[in-house]
Symmetry: C2
Subunit: 91 residues, 2 copies
């Protein structure tokens, strides 16, 4: 179920490093090098498969930008923030 704006603000305050962007939530993760960035991407992919919820992932050498949105609901849901929280734990 799509979250109301107040709920989004509440959930967002609980996931460090994530911000709203064009209705989705997004975060950039920085690493030492490309190999370390790829390790993170693979761990994030495992989380995505486990939750059956898949962020867009943009790899730029040693940085990885994740963007999450619930397409089926046309907005942000608990699942988006669950994914954000689980991915934050990978750092």
């Amino acid at each position: 179920m799509k979250l109301a704006p107040g709920q989004v603000a509440d959930r967002l305050s609980q996931v460090t490093g994530w911000e709203l962007s064009q209705g989705a939530i997004t975060a950039v993760f920085q690493f030492k090098d490309f190999a370390e960035a790829m390790q993170f991407v693979n761990r994030a992919a495992d989380v995505a498969e486990a939750l059956d919820h898949h962020p867009d992932m943009l790899i730029r050498y040693n940085s990885v930008q994740l963007t999450v949105f619930t397409h089926s609901e046309g907005g942000l849901t608990e699942k988006d923030f669950e994914l954000a929280a689980r991915v934050n734990q990978l750092r």
Copy 2:
């Protein structure tokens, strides 16, 4: 060394599926699902490390967009097209 426009056109004609976009070259690869897309991303990452030349990689569920550019030369070089050709062989 940065390629001249005529050389870029020539090299581009030799890498199926790649096109010019804002001075870089880019291609989108489609897969059955996210797991297959991730397998491709990991193989493309191995090519990138082997060539020491790293494309931007955008994963969107079952699609992967690669964008290549030689930042140190401020343009396209033989290495960009070598990476494109090697990645095309992964399909």
